[in-house]
Each structure stands twice: as structure tokens, then as C-alpha cells.
């Protein structure tokens, strides 16, 4: 069975593999609930280059929680679509613009950080 452009099947299988092979009932080294929620809702605002986030690739419990949070996110988006006075197309557009704004804020932060690092290297 071929995979789609987003390698969905690969990542679903990877998730299943981690759930099966990396139990962590004592939650050793786990990320806290708030961080996991932000990982799902606004990942662009986190510094994912920090090695601590790699923990999710070796923890069934964190992976399970991420899955639950994603389902909550999808359910909330669906609920907003149903209950909103806007049409579903309108809601999708709002969501799209929200992500654009958040991404733009992140990009600005990245650009400023790179600029500061260049300045530091010049004046070192």
C-alpha cells in the first residue's frame, strides 16, 4: 500500500511501534502536560531543536497523550465549525489566518534571533 505525500502511513506505523516498544509507566523523563498541549496546539512557538523533545520518540505514554491531545484539537475544530455562525469554509479560513499569524510571529522571532547571532559573531 503506497503512502501519501505526507508519509501518513509511515508516521502512523511509527506511532504504533513506539506505543508497543517503549512503555514508560513510571513516566521517567516525560514532558509535562502543558508542554505536550502546546506541542499539539502551537508547535511553532516551541524551540523543538531542544533535545528534550526527542523523548517522545521513546515514550509510549507521551505518544499516547499527544494522540489524545490531537483528537481533542480535531474535536474542538469540528465543534467550532458546527456551532459557529460562520460557514465551514469561513471557519477554515479563520483557522488558516490564525496559523498564518502565529507562523509569522515565529518567523519574525527566528529572523531576529539569527540577526542577533550574526551581530554577536561580528563583534566577538
Amino acid at each position: 500500500m503506497r503512502d501519501d505525500d505526507n508519509d501518513t502511513r509511515l508516521f502512523d506505523t511509527l506511532e504504533h511501534y513506539i506505543l508497543e516498544h517503549y512503555p514508560n509507566p513510571e513516566r521517567i523523563g516525560c514532558l509535562d502536560q502543558d508542554l505536550l498541549r502546546r506541542f499539539v496546539e502551537t508547535p511553532e512557538l516551541l524551540d523543538l531543536s531542544d533535545p528534550k523533545y526527542l523523548h517522545v520518540f521513546k515514550c509510549a505514554e507521551c505518544t499516547r497523550e499527544l494522540g489524545d491531545l490531537r483528537r481533542i484539537r480535531e474535536a474542538r475544530i469540528q465543534q467550532d465549525v458546527v456551532s459557529s455562525p460562520f460557514s465551514s469554509a469561513g471557519m477554515k479560513a479563520i483557522e488558516k489566518w490564525r496559523r498564518h499569524i502565529v507562523t509569522a510571529a515565529f518567523k519574525t522571532r527566528m529572523l531576529v534571533r539569527r540577526f542577533v547571532e550574526r551581530l554577536k559573531s561580528v563583534f566577538r
Binding site: 503512502d3 508516521f11 506505523t13 511509527l14 511501534y17 523533545y53 520518540f57
Partner: protein
Amino acid sequence: MELEKAREAARTHLGDEQLALEMMELAIQQTAEYLAGLSPIGVEETRLILMRFYRNEVRRRQRAGRRLTYRGSAMDVERLSPSVDCSFARIEADLDLEAVLNDAPADLRCAMLLRYGSRSQWGEVAEILLKSKEATRKLCERELKKIRKKLEL
């Protein structure tokens, strides 16, 4: 005479001759119980039985002293040695993405985490990393191939 031998045995085998009296009292009690139901016997035979019980007690204490004892609670043991089931599962896992990505460039780590954790599409990942979708995909291609191979996809 028996008491002297008893003290010597306690000193030699247990390192403490003070224990001799205690063990001798116990041996006397056991001898009395042993002889209670039997027909009367002579002094010599009684001495032999008494010393036999005494030597048994010395050996018993010697064996007890050799055993390792843990002074703590079950919680301590659990903390020191985590559940065996978890260890077995982790040992059997031969795909260790944390180790693979630990030395990888920061952008690659971000891309894989975004795709895996929040299930952002490659296009969204590309936007966040300020790259094109093709460049982002190419960045992760080698790792994705490794994962496919390990997962037999």
C-alpha cells in the same frame, strides 16, 4: 566441660562467645523436648544429644549470617530496579529515533518532531522552518528511509 567447648565453637564459627549461653539454653530445651517421650537414657547419651542440638544451632546461625539481607522497603527495590516488562520491551526495540536524531541538525529534529508530534503536514513544517516543501522533504529523506526499513514498510 561442654560449656567450654560450646564457647569455643561460638567463638570460632560465629565470632562471639557470648552467644554460647543463649544457644546452650536453646539446645537444653530441645534436648528435653526430644527426651520427653522416650524411655530414660544415661548421662553420656544425653550429653551427645545436647551437643548435637548445640552444633545444629551453631550451623543454623552460621548459615543465617551468610545470607544477604536487604534493609529497606519494596518501594526502594522498585525504584532501583524498574519493572522487568518495560526493560524487555525496550531491549527488543531496534528502532531508536532519539539516538538517531540526537546528532542530527536542529532543522531535521524540528521537522521530524513537527510531523510526528503535532502531525503538521510537510507544507506547514516547511513554512515553520522557512524552507520549501521539497527542501524539507529532502532534509528528512534519509531518516525516513531508515525508519521505513526498520518498520519493514
